[in-house]
Amino acid sequence: MKKLSHPHHLTEWKRFILEGKPSYNKVVAVSSGTCGRARGSLQILAALKQEIERRRLSLTVGIEATGCHGLCEMEPNIIIFPEGFFYKRLEVKDVPAIVERTILKNKVIPSLVYEDPVTGRKHPRLDEIPFYQKQTRLLTENNFRINPEHIEDYIVLDGYQALAKALFDMTSESVIAEVKASGLRGRGGAGLLTGKKWESCREAHGHPKYIICDADEGDPGASMSRGLLEANPHCLIEGMIIGAYAIGASEGFICVGTKYPLAVEHVTLALEQARHHGLLGTAIFGSEFHFDIHIVQVAGAFVSGDETSLIAALEGRKAFPRQQPPFPSQQGLWGKPTDIHHVETWANLPIILNKGADWFAKIGADKSPGTKIVSLGGTINNTSLAEVPLGTRLRKIIFDIGGGIKNNRPLKAVQTGGPRGGYIPAEKMDVPLDYETLSQAGSILGCGGLIVMDKNTCMVDAARHSLNASLEESCGKCAPCRVGTKQMLEILNRISHGQGEASDIGRLEDLAAVMKAASLCGLGQTAANPVLTTLRYFKDEYDAHIREKRCPALVCQSLAQEKKAKNSRKLETGRGAI
């Protein structure tokens, strides 16, 4: 199929692809995102292909490299359809047995089956594994079924249908109305209503208008953008074209950092394919709407997470944020109205248009409809990318989906929202994952990173680590952030070296208040969250460091060494504590 010049061509194309597809008895999806590849998934893929060739099964068994399957802990893994057998942590030597026993004889190989870390039960099929069973995978479900290098796989799953609907059955205004009615909020952290942002950009004076996809993921412990970009780039592209049509934008930019080469490769290819088939460029689908997307590698500094600093980076300036208003939707890139959203926000749009705003609004929490992709990391059993309805309680995410804490240690705290999020203590695990509740608890939803910490974590050290990340990423433009992070870090360093004073707590609180009130962008305004929440929920640990010169978790090295030295002195002199 060449250029699509009419929406009917899409249905024809889909039929054409389906008719031309070999009728496979089995399809093996090999998880080949960055993490999978780092653990050898490409070798598994090659070995599977070779074994299938050797046995002359190429006509009945399909082997596909897909994006991330979410269960990073179990890489490299494969799913065998139609049964949905899930095999984990494979090695090349497992391949012949998989072909012989499972693919040809439909028998399960017990040693490759996922074992639940909580119950110890083995679950051979995808839909029986609690990790998958308990999620709501709107955005990530297709990851299993799409080879990100083939646009055809996306078309078969009704890809670009939402765009056709928007262009031919809806006006720009009615697209905006639909998105407003869905209640979709920005997934990058601020949580503004997407439809409202669109509306203000559409109404703003100035021409041309631009849209930007922020895919420069800087937060430690967050890889949800990468997961989507690598696995299903066309859903982002479709979402952006719909947004451009609604806003009246003529050019779009996808900003990616430098550490995601595979994502860049897949998105670049997807853009070329979309252009080739007339889904991007002039006269999309033969309509009068023209729009194109460029992929731009910005130079990895988190401050570009702020909308105005991302714009500065795109313009070729230092990524400094600026005062708002004027908001980017009024004056953004090169002074023109610009709408910026996170990858996940854009990716939700085809779903909303396909299924309708009412359907979407019923998922998730009242004020925060839809799902959120969360990345689970730290000392948790299932380190993973999971997708849950907003409003899901942290306990469910960490214990039911995440499989609980490694080595059955007690949970101590969860950091939500990256290094500028707060630490939620174990007794507050009934907090639902949504924008408002997390912010009342002193943290943020951010882009959805959840880092789990067990009792071996020192909370003073954890706060220090997070603050250090903010300090390194502070652009230095405004004093509260530049000086505040530095001063706070020095105090925390003193405390963790056993030189803290009782008055340090008050100093930290004062500095935090100033940073929150006076910083120019989100980075400075939230950088103190880790310190404030640890002071709020783990005050006793600060007291132990300051008053007793003791690190209860034995993490702060100089205090731990002091303890050892004291113990050895005790032995030498035979006296009690010094």
């Binding site: 960055t34 802990e73 412990g221 890889s223 430098t258 730290g378 993973s384 680590h465 997070s466 990423e473």
Partner: protein, 150 residues
């Protein structure tokens, strides 16, 4: 080094600055300080603007990378799993503090905010190859492998 060639293929506006710097960094392993004037001229910017952007961004360096580029992830998930000890250990082994090494050295050691593969933490990347669940004991063999594969 074909910096002149790269310059010729580039547009002539401010928006081309960062992509251009990426190209030069990839081709030459650094941004040679003597090329700043030519870049500024090509893009019709002042030299100080070019220097400002390139020194602001961690992706660009003014000195060449070592032959073996070691990057240690310092994300929170890796930190909790002991990433701090790894960077110390590697620093000791290759006698370089974190940061880029001076000209002509065999190694350069760099740390990064997060590589996004938290399940594999602590993660070390050597010349593009990811090593997962690195412990201080594994550091030696990883570095040896990098040296011999050259």
């Amino acid at each position: 080094m074909d910096i002149e060639k790269i310059l010729k293929e580039t547009g002539a506006g401010r928006r081309d600055l960062v992509p251009l710097l990426h190209k030069i960094q990839a081709a030459a392993g650094h941004i040679p300080p003597e090329s700043i004037a030519a870049i500024a001229k090509q893009l019709r910017l002042s030299e100080s603007e070019v220097f400002g952007v390139l020194s602001f961004n961690q992706s660009f360096t003014l000195e060449p990378d070592g032959k073996i580029r070691v990057t240690v992830c310092r994300g929170t998930a890796c930190h909790i799993r002991g990433g701090g000890k790894i960077i110390e250990e590697i620093g000791k082994k290759i006698a370089a503090p974190a940061g880029r090494t001076p000209v002509g050295k065999e190694f350069s050691l760099d740390k990064t905010a997060c590589l996004g593969c938290c399940a594999m933490g602590p993660v070390v990347v050597v010349n593009g190859t990811h090593y997962s669940q690195v412990s201080p004991e594994k550091v030696d063999s990883i570095l040896e492998k990098a040296k011999t594969s050259d």
